[in-house]
Amino acid sequence: AQKVTQAQTEISVVEKEDVTLDCVYETRDTTYYLFWYKQPPSGELVFLIRRNSFDEQNEISGRYSWNFQKSTSSFNFTITASQVVDSAVYFCALPMDSNYQLIWGAGTKLIIKP
């Protein structure tokens, strides 16, 4: 069965530190997508990235980067030079067999202290 594990419940760092959020997944599919979403205190889930399992290249977007490793079923998210505005809960998600239901991790609460 599909499953997403975000083992880090809460991470607290000081501003400007780098921080990595872990995501480990289980799936029977050979082709699949993975997602990261951000949920700031306002509550609205904000899409960050979608990756296809065909593409294992790391992706960088500004201070954000993603490391996708199929061999270890991990899709980790790194924020470089963190800022207070990065404080939020971050979710990793994986589509179910049906392809429209998303299976969500429990989320990692990230606290960036000034």
Binding site: T31, Y33, F35, Y37, S42, G43, E44, L45, V46, F47, R50, F91, A93, P95, S98, N99, Y100, Q101, L102, W104, G105, A106, G107
Partner: protein, 118 residues
């Protein structure tokens, strides 16, 4: 509008009361999803619409929950005879196209409706 909107943002109901939560998806989006999010947890799938057709309602926790999207745009999630365990944030999301094995568009979320049942 530019994004998904939901109303009301907050709803307090007395146990046993019926509630109706509204979702306005992004115009033109085919797919619409409802999720339930308990405090400190990730969203849990409730139901999925493709246009006006409700293709999956397997996540609805009981027959007290009912969702509709009669004209393929606005959707309403209704909860009858609310119970305290229904207290949660109800999220609506829309997506441009229907998901398939070769494509899975990102879902755009509304701000949610926080339901508190006393």
């Amino acid at each position: 509008g530019a994004g998904v909107s939901q109303s009301p943002r907050y709803k307090v109901a007395k146990r046993g009361q019926d509630v109706a939560l509204r979702c306005d998806p992004i115009s033109g989006h085919v797919s619409l999803f409802w999720y339930q999010q308990a405090l400190g947890q990730g969203p849990e799938f409730l139901t999925y619409f493709q246009n006006e057709a409700q293709l999956d309602k397997s996540g609805l926790p009981s027959d007290r929950f009912f969702a509709e999207r009669p004209e393929g745009s606005v959707s309403t999630l209704k909860i009858q005879r609310t119970q305290q365990e229904d207290s949660a944030v109800y999220l609506c999301a829309s997506s441009l196209a229907r998901p398939s094995g070769i494509s899975h568009n990102e879902q755009f979320f509304g701000p949610g409706t926080r339901l508190t049942v006393l």
